[in-house]
Amino acid sequence: MIKVCTEDFDLGLLTNELRKKSPQSGAIVNFIGLVRDINHGQSVSKLFLEHYPAMTEKVLTDICSRAKARFSVDHIDVIHRVGELDLNSQIVYVGVSAMHRGDAFNCCEYVMDYLKSEAPFWKKENQHGQQIWLDANPTDVAAKARWEQ
């Protein structure tokens, strides 16, 4: 399941759905990304997320296909929110079910690393009343590169 939406999500419900459709799995790994109150030393009060609707789900689907080809996993679910988000809000969810935990952990990291450097989302932060578009983070590029060695 891949979804881009404005609404919030419930981790408990998502985990149950993933568990029910994965009877052969022995492990589920979930990741949730949040809006934090400090970024690069600046306090943040709100976040706005823009995306390229026609391309976003296509890229996420492609990342999940590559992840499934690389790791022995049963299901990958991804939800990414867009629009205006308050502090501490959930931004992104990745849930992976697999027979063994190693593949589930690795696959979840792989999906997040590629999502952060390939999926067409852009964050704009409200810092002290100023709207600031974020720059790409070099550590995200490095995180993706380790899968390509």
């Binding site: 997320l49 990414h80 931004i91 952060k116 067409p120 989302f121 852009w122 578009w133 720059d135 790409a136």
Partner: protein
């Protein structure tokens, strides 16, 4: 006619979200960047290789990727989701 789309910081800097553009023949991404640079100094700077990634028909493109009539070409800054 190709449809150009701009996202994120680029959309705001150029004050443009969508721009229909007539092309007389197939062009590559590099020459389209050049053609758009003629619209003004801002366009030249903001659409330069280091500031703007390009997708053609919702797939990441290279400088030599060809653009045909009817294509959708999107320019955007490096992505920052997640």
């Amino acid at each position: 006619m190709v449809t150009l789309l701009f996202f994120g910081r680029l959309r705001e800097l150029l004050d443009c979200q969508r721009l229909p553009l007539e092309i007389t023949s197939t062009v590559d991404v590099a020459s389209l960047r050049q053609q758009l640079a003629d619209k003004g100094p801002h366009w030249q700077e903001f659409l330069s290789l280091q500031h703007a990634l390009v997708a053609v028909n919702q797939t990441m493109a290279q400088e030599q990727t060809l653009i045909n009539d009817g294509d959708e070409v999107a320019f955007f800054p490096p992505v920052t989701g997640g």
